[in-house]
Each structure stands twice: as structure tokens, then as C-alpha cells.
Point group: C2
Chain length 577, copies 2
């Protein structure tokens, strides 16, 4: 059954009445995870409700997951960073006996259309990168405590943790059975993390990924698939010890005022105020106008309404603090549009507001980078911009009078595939509003790297150091269109006479091209230069997985993915491609 | 093996009587290229015979190409390196007026099955990498002299050259029209080379790749799409000057005896002696037994039959010199099997002969690395092993008594996805032959890097410096199975009792898996660690292109590739994936 058909009659949960998936959940309503706290150690236990699938038609047995389970996981990972500055180790484990997690639900995958599978895997990969970002950037280290078998996506989830413990009970194993059982790849990071993170030798990795029964105990340790295999009698104590060790080494909340009794206070991620209908999505600062005929979403990000508060007042402002509010809204919007609006293939990016205030907020963030909350906000913005980078939609930035593409918001223009900036003003525009300007600041020069490890500015000027230097040295100066074009910061700078035609053609033309070819083009162009584990996951592993998902050998009526569990073997076209 | 084997003749064109494509051609029979010489400058002019397509059903108009055109190009590139040590600049141009090359023939692509398209693109990419290797490793610099429009694959061919000159006549342009016209990518290196080699800013690259009419003149130069745009009156002279400049800077044939009158003599790449039928492919040193029921090709590489000659005698030996002979045979075999035997999904790699002699030949090569011919042979072996790395077949190496997996031939085992080495001897084996050994030497430690820039040994032990050091320090020592396993040089070392079962299961199991998933698995596992332009082309760009090729939006009955030239617009599924 196609997922689209199930959509209309789905029960409460993350699928709303119009059949749209919502990414807004909260711990009180989790159906699949239990989050508990013990001082600096949090335990995030997977306890999937078999009947809690996002759609009808499959049961989430053996802690297998679907997008709904992943949405709760993402929410938990976010809350741990913002609401729990005291947490330094997160123990990821299972609340079920003998099974950690069986990976993505196969019946769900088999029944899902291609685009759904791909989008689901992308979100899953992003959450796993987010887990690694918590360990790397936030002193909140994830420890996988595999108290039972971790197979497929279950083991890939463990791979996102810094340390993997496996219970040594002669039956629990780690495995990547996707290839032998389903004819697809361990595609949510699995292959890449096994070789590039765990440094498993590739011939052993090959054997491992073709052995559906998995590997446990001493062999799993010797091959580096896990860090330690611990017998059951010592399990609880060993996990507690390891969690305490990681907590003791953490630098989280290390500023003086946070080390006192109680440490820093977390801030509550209150629900977003969001209006959503067929044509419009609105939050406080971010709005999107959806034009189905044109195939576009026009996204406008509003700058701050007031000057920034004093540094001491940031925590009190909490989710109302503009940088955090705007990031949360943008994050939710990206996920909403990606999941619910696959036919809106072009996103037009605009901003509106006072550029000076954006720069003032940036300065506040840069000046207080050592503050735990500021650190969290900047890394969250970094992750959200990365989400934009890997979004399979064409991004066109329009810079017009009244906009505020400055500092952190200029990253939106740098993330775009193309950027048009009006030279001068519109003849019929507001006479009070002068020509648009763009301004770089410190936020463009380091704190918001892309997945390839470079800033968007470095990626833009790859190999052209003099252009990079010239642009960097212009930081702090408002640049009009001709200057921005001269410095290579915008693609084209048409004047009022040409603007409408040029922009219209760019947007209309985009809608006329093959959506698949555009996804491929953008996935290649957006990441010039060096590659990292992250870009390899999104670029190489994902592309191969998408190809395999789309092949009859996996998804055809006789394919392995469709035939899994039917008792019938797959019938392969044996030609190698 | 006797020397009087019949040569498989392709008459006429590269498709032989059994419908197999042959990669053996020679300049005298080129239908599509003209190769002329003027001292240190060779001119390779594309002059495609419209009626010379490899298959019926399409005409190769406007210097468009198919696999047959590419096979001749590959042959020319190889001969330039071996037969023409005096050539220091190769001017790649067109013998036709106003058109350089229109890229891959669209009707051919539209009519080709998926596997054919993918294999064709792979070979095309390999030849382009070979062109870059000539510039980088051989002092033989390629200069693209675009005397007319270069579009699609035509421009991608130019991108493989070190310097691109475009005639500035108000009509000649460079373009990548694949996306707007065909709904596919510029997938033979195009996207990657534009951003990572030419360093074109990605927003300009985006505009360029969506503008089917292309970019010429000053704009093409300003955007770095070409290095210079030269008006027609100055064209011939400018090309000649530039060719002479590159030749003057070349280090080719720099050894003392080559700088005398006439310089070094080239060696003739005489036709390979090859026997080929449905079950067997045989050359002098390399044989392959094809088992269609099992889906395997068992490839055996024989070591040298005699001790190496003195260094002075290498050139006289020419194509009979063992390292060159074995490399040519292996290269042809890989291409034959890839193109003509897509259902043989597993290649079992064996060797036979005297390991000591292999090591002696390696020493000769290493000791004479400065000799132009030795340099060519080692780089050719490097390229051939890289071809193996990107081959979408499972590679299983079997190391048995009587084998000679030593030095350069041990690279075959390192290239394999898995390697089995017999511990001890076969109980019923030849009592004269002792247990197998493997030996590393200098050839494993540098001269034969993979596409990722690392040696196969470095890739194998990525991030494990102590294992790499231990293996490297064992160089020169023959290692028995237990030692090789201990050092991590082989995957498994079963004894006589387990050998048959373990090997049989490994091979049979491989044949039972999804061929697509295996291609994806191997493409990910084989390249751990850093990425280069080359691995990005084969890993990321190719994977996206394969996915796009396989999508209805390109190859379905209403897809852009199928509808091109019919006057009907493609009908796209607009959902973004």
C-alpha cells in the first residue's frame, strides 16, 4: 500500500489531520523513548511501541523504527543539549530485553515510495550527525550500551556514538544485514562509519556486511566493531563506570558560574507557535508562501525586532532570544517542506529587517562564545544551515531593499545555488528604503562550517585565496550590489529594469528541469573541495543507496526489499552495473 | 602457453563476430581520430565518422561519440605515451569546422540499457583521468584547442586537459547542456572538474550548467571555464605558441641519453595475442576461465618465465618485457569482462609462478624509475590497478601454493574485497611445492597509489599506523599464511580441511546477493579515508548519474533522455527526492 494512501486516515501522533508529518513532539508524549536523568548522566532508552507506527500497515517489532521514532529521537537529542546543561554523558540503550534495535522497519521501507525512503534516510543521517556533534561540540558524549543485538540501522545508530559497549552473552551481536537480507545498503552512515570512523579493515568490513547473523563478543572487539564486550554479570556496573568516566572528562558547562551548585540552568524548548495551511506556513520570524502552480516556496526570514539584550539576559530570554527562535523556526520549516511538500522544488530565500540588529546579535554571540547556551545556539544554527545544504531543493536567494542579509543571515545567500541582488532600488518601491546591502561579519568566517569542514565563504572561493581575502577584509562594511558582485558574493546584480525578467526566468526555468537531475547537480556543486565523513555519507553513500532503492533488484515486485518476509527469495537481474 | 594464438580481430569496427566489443585498435584503422606529429607536439584531431557508430541506429553527427570513438581515443593516449617519448604537448582539437565535439551521442545513450550507459561513462572517465595522468606523470601535457563549440562530453573532454583555448568568433562556446536538454548530469567528470579543478564559483557553475546555449568569449575566460579566448585570425599561431611553451617546460625524456639527437626511441604497442571464446580468455601471461553457471571469472596472472633482463635491454624487449606485457593483458581483460560479461559478478584472482622473479622485476623497475619507459610502465600498472578498483565486480583473491603474490602482484590481493590464503599445503597437492607465501616490496609502498592518493596498504590500515608500520617493515620477507594473517595482509587463512568449504561459500554467497547492492557496497568500502577529484568523480558524481539514468524522468518513455529530438517535451514527475 502506498504511503500516500495511508496518510489520509492516520491516527494521532506526528501525522496531523491534513496528512502532514509534524516534527514537533515533546517528552511527555514520547511513545518510543524513555529519557531519565541521574546527575551528569542521562539514559535514553529505546522502547518502541509496536503499534505506534507513523502509518498503518506495519508493526514496529524488535525496536525497529520509522520516521515517527526518529522524530522523537531528534527531539530528545535537541532537548538534551538545551534543557540539560548538566548532562555530560548520554547512555543510549534499549528498554527491551535481548534486543537493542533492529533498525529501520522493513515493511515500512518496502511499502514506501522512493522519495519517502530517501527523505527518511536523510533525516535519520542528520540526527546521527547531530549525535556526533553533541559529543564533539558540546561535551555531551554518547555512549552506546547495546544490551542486546543491534542490527542494521540499530548498529548504525550505535556507530554514531563515541563508545560502543556490547553485552557478551553468546547471543547478542552487532550486524549489518541489509545487503544479504534486503538487497540494499547500510545507508544511514553504516558503511562510511565502519571504515572511516571505526577504522575497521575493509576486507573484514566486507565479510561483516555480508554476514546477516552478525558478529559478537571478542571478535567484534578485535575487529573494532565495538569498543568492548562485557559479560552480563558486570554489565550494569561497567556501563555506569564508563558513563561516569566520560562525564568526568567532559568540558560541558565549564564556565565558572556553571560549576557552582546546580550549574547552569537549562532552557525549556517550548512548543513553536506555528500556523500551517495549504498555502502558507508562519512562525514568529519565518514565513513561507507556497505556490503549487509555480512549484516554489518563498521563505522570508525576519531579522530581530529589537536590539539584543545584555549577555546576562540571554538565558532568561530562552526560546524568545532571536537567534534561537529563528533557528528553531527555520529548522522546523525545512523539515516540514522537505517531508510534506516534495513538489515545491525551488525555495526562494528572502530576508527582511534591520541588518544592523542582525550584526549586533552576531556580535553578542561571538563575544560570548564560551557561554554554554550561546555555544549551543551557534552549533544549532550550524546544523540547521547544514540541513539546508543537503536539502534536495533548488535554493535561490533574492536580495532586495529592506532585506537584512548580514552576518549569520548572509549564510542563507551563501547556501543558495544562486543569488540575485537588486542594483539600486525598485522604481515603484518605498522611497524611504534605500538600496539593499549585504554585510559579512565573524559569523561568516568560522563558526558555521559546512559538512566539508570549510566555511561557505571558503567553499565559494575554493582555491582562490585572493578572492577569499578580499571578501573577508570587507567584513563589517555594508556592500551595495555592484560591490557585492565585484567581490563575488552574489551571482548577478540586475537593476530594476531587468530584475523581474531575470528572476522570473531563473525560477520558471528551474521548475522546467528534471527534478532528479537538479538534485544530482546540487549535491555535487554544493560541496567543492575536501570531503569528510559527513559529506561522504550524504554524497557517496546516499547516492549509491538512492540508486539501489530505485532498482528493480530492491524495489521491484521480485526485489529483495519487497520480498523480505514473504518466504519467497528475491529474483535478481544478475547483470552488474 | 604457445605464442601462435589467433588474434581476435574486429572487422570492421570494434564489435567482433560474437557481438563482443574489442578494445584492440591501432592508428592505421582509426575511423574517428587523426594523429599527426611535429617534433615535440602531437595533434590529436577528432574527426568522427558519422556512419562509424559501434552499433546501428544512430549517426555520430557533430563529432559526437560512442564507445567506439572512446576506444580509439584511449588507444591514442596510450600510444602517445609509449610510442612517442618525443611528444611533450598533445593538442586536442577537431578536424571539423565550427565544432569541437558535441559530447556523447544522445540517440546512442537513449537507446542503451542502463548497464551499458554506466559502463560507457566509466570507461570515458578513466580515459580522461588517463589524459590527466599523462600531464601529471609523464610530462606530456594536453592542450585543448577548441576551434569550435565544445558541448557536454565535448567540454568535459576539454576539462581533462591542462589548458583550454577557445576560439573567439562570437559563435563558439563551451556548454554543459545535459541538465536542461536531457535531464541527466554532465557525468563524465564535468561537474566535479568545473568546481574542483577549474575552480569555477559554484553559483556561476550552476548558471552555466542550466544554460544550454553555453558561454563563450570573455565571459568564459572570466568565469575560468576556459583559460583563453583567442580571435580566429590569431588562432593557429596562438595554439602553436602555447603548445611550444608547454613542450619547453616538459620534463619528459629527461635522462641524459634521451637528450641526444633523436632522444629516446618509442616502443611499438604491437597487437596483443589473445584467444577468446565463450568460456575462456587467454593471453600470454593472463588467463580467465569463465563460469556462467557460477557467475564467476577466475583470473590467473602468471609471473615472469625468466629472470629480468639488464636495464639496458628493457626498451629492446618492448612489449615482451614482462611487466608491460602483463599490464597490457590485464588492462584488456578488465575492459573485455566489464563490457562483455556483465553477468560474471565475481572475479576470483589468482597468480602462479616464481615470486622471486616478480620481486626481481620490481627491483629493476624501482632501480630505474628515472627511465622514461620504466616510468611509463609503472604508471600504466598504476592506472590498470585503479581500473580494477572501480570495477563493479566482487574481487576475491585466492593465495595457494605455487602462487606468486609478491610486490606488484600482491597489489591484486590488496585490491580484492577479500583475500583467502591457504595455511600449509593441500594434502593432495604437489609434494614439491611448499606452502604459499606473500611478500611486500617497494612497489607496495608508494608507486602504485589508488585514486584516493593513498597506497592500497595505507588504505587497508587507515588510521592504524602501527599496523601499517608492522606490515611495511615486513617488506622483503616471504610471509606464510599465519604471519600474513597476523599482519592483517589477508582476510582469512583456512587450512586444507576448511579451504574448499570456506572459499566455496564465499563465492557462492556472493553470487546470491543483489548485484546492485554489491556494487554500492564495494564502491563505498574500497575508498576509505581522503577523497580526491578522482574518487569524487567515481564515487559521488557517478553514483548520482547512475541514479538519474535509472529514473523515469530520464529514461522512462516520457523522460528527457528518451524524448530528446522527438519534438515532444519530457513529462516529469515533479517530486523532489
Amino acid at each position: 500500500m502506498a504511503v500516500d494512501e495511508i496518510l489520509e486516515r492516520s491516527a494521532p501522533g506526528p501525522v496531523g489531520e491534513a496528512g502532514r508529518v509534524s516534527f514537533q513532539v515533546e517528552p511527555g508524549s514520547y511513545r518510543h523513548w524513555r529519557l531519565t536523568f541521574d546527575g551528569p548522566v542521562a539514559t535514553l532508552a529505546m522502547d518502541v511501541d509496536e503499534r505506534g507506527g507513523l502509518r498503518d500497515g506495519y508493526e514496529l517489532k524488535l525496536n525497529s523504527y520509522d520516521l515517527g521514532v526518529d522524530i522523537e529521537l531528534y527531539d530528545a537529542v535537541q532537548r538534551l543539549r538545551f534543557e540539560h546543561p548538566e548532562v555530560r554523558t548520554v547512555v543510549l540503550t534499549s528498554a527491551k530485553d535481548k534486543i537493542f534495535c533492529a533498525g529501520a522497519n522493513i515493511r515500512m521501507l518496502a511499502a514506501s515510495p522512493h522519495a519517502w525512503k530517501v527523505n527518511f534516510c536523510k533525516f535519520t543521517n542528520e540526527t546521527r550527525n547531530g549525535i556526533e556533534d553533541a559529543s564533539a561540540s558540546s561535551g555531551q558524549t554518547y555512549l552506546a550500551a547495546l544490551n542486546g543485538t543491534a542490527s542494521g540501522g540499530g548498529y548504525e545508530l550505535a556507530l554514531a556514538c563515541e563508545h560502543i559497549m556490547l553485552i557478551d552473552d553468546r547471543s547478542s551481536v552487532v550486524s549489518l544485514p541489509e545487503l544479504p537480507l534486503l538487497g540494499v545498503l547500510p545507508g544511514t552512515g553504516g558503511l562510511t562509519r565502519v571504515t572511516d570512523k571505526r577504522l575497521v579493515r575493509r576486507d573484514l568490513a566486507d565479510y561483516f556486511a555480508t554476514r546477516s547473523e552478525g558478529v559478537g563478543g571478542a571478535r567484534a572487539t578485535a575487529w573494532r566493531l565495538v569498543d568492548e564486550a562485557v559479560p552480563r554479570p558486570r554489565w550494569d556496573q561497567a556501563v555506569a563506570e564508563r558513563a561516569a568516566e566520560f562525564a568526568a572528562r567532559s568540558t560541558r558547562s565549564s564556565r565558572p558560574e556553571a560549576t557552582g551548585a546546580g550549574g547552569a540552568e537549562g532552557i525549556a524548548l517550548a512548543p513553536l507557535a506555528k500556523r500551517r495551511d495549504d498555502d502558507h506556513i508562519g512562525y514568529q520570524y519565518v514565513t513561507a508562501a507556497l505556490d503549487r502552480a509555480a512549484g516554489t516556496a518563498t521563505i522570508t526570514v525576519a531579522g530581530p525586532g529589537q536590539d539584543p539584550p545584555h549577555a546576562d539576559a540571554i538565558a532568561a530570554a530562552g526560546v524568545t532570544f532571536w537567534p534561537l527562535a529563528v533557528t528553531r523556526e527555520l529548522d522546523d520549516l525545512i523539515l516540514d517542506l522537505r517531508t510534506n511538500e516534495p513538489e515545491l522544488g525551488t525555495w526562494v530565500l528572502k530576508t527582511s529587517g534591520d541588518a544592523g540588529r542582525v550584526l549586533a546579535y552576531d556580535r553578542l554571540l561571538l563575544d560570548n562564545a564560551g557561554d554554554w547556551l550561546v555555544n549551543e545556539i551557534v552549533h544549532y544554527l550550524k546544523r540547521t544551515l547544514k540541513r539546508l545544504d543537503v536539502t534536495s531543493r533548488s535554493l535561490i536567494a533574492l536580495i532586495e531593499p529592506g532585506s537584512c542579509f548580514a552576518g549569520s543571515l548572509f549564510e542563507l545567500a551563501l547556501a543558495a545555488d544562486r543569488c540575485y541582488m537588486l542594483l539600486g532600488v525598485f522604481e515603484d518601491g518605498d522611497p524611504e528604503v534605500g538600496p539593499a546591502t549585504v554585510t559579512l561579519d565573524g559569523m561568516n568566517l568560522g563558526p558555521l562550517p559546512m559538512g566539508n569542514g570549510l566555511t561557505r565563504l571558503q567553499t565559494r572561493f575554493l582555491g582562490d585565496d585572493s578572492a577569499l581575502t578580499a571578501a573577508s577584509e570587507a567584513a563589517g562594511r555594508p556592500l551595495q550590489a555592484d560591490q557585492a558582485e565585484e567581490l563575488g558574493l552574489v551571482t548577478f546584480a540586475p537593476d530594476d529594469i531587468d530584475w523581474d525578467d531575470e528572476v522570473r526566468i531563473a525560477v520558471e526555468e528551474r521548475a522546467s528541469f528534471s527534478p532528479d537531475a537538479l538534485s544530482g547537480l546540487e549535491a555535487n556543486y554544493r560541496f567543492a573541495g575536501p570531503e569528510t565523513m559527513e559529506t561522504k555519507i550524504f554524497g557517496r553513500l546516499t547516492a549509491w543507496q538512492n540508486w539501489i532503492f530505485n532498482r528493480p533488484n530492491a524495489s521491484g515486485p521480485d526485489g529483495a526489499l519487497r520480498r523480505f518476509g514473504t518466504g519467497q527469495r528475491a529474483n535478481f537481474d544478475r547483470k552488474r552495473v
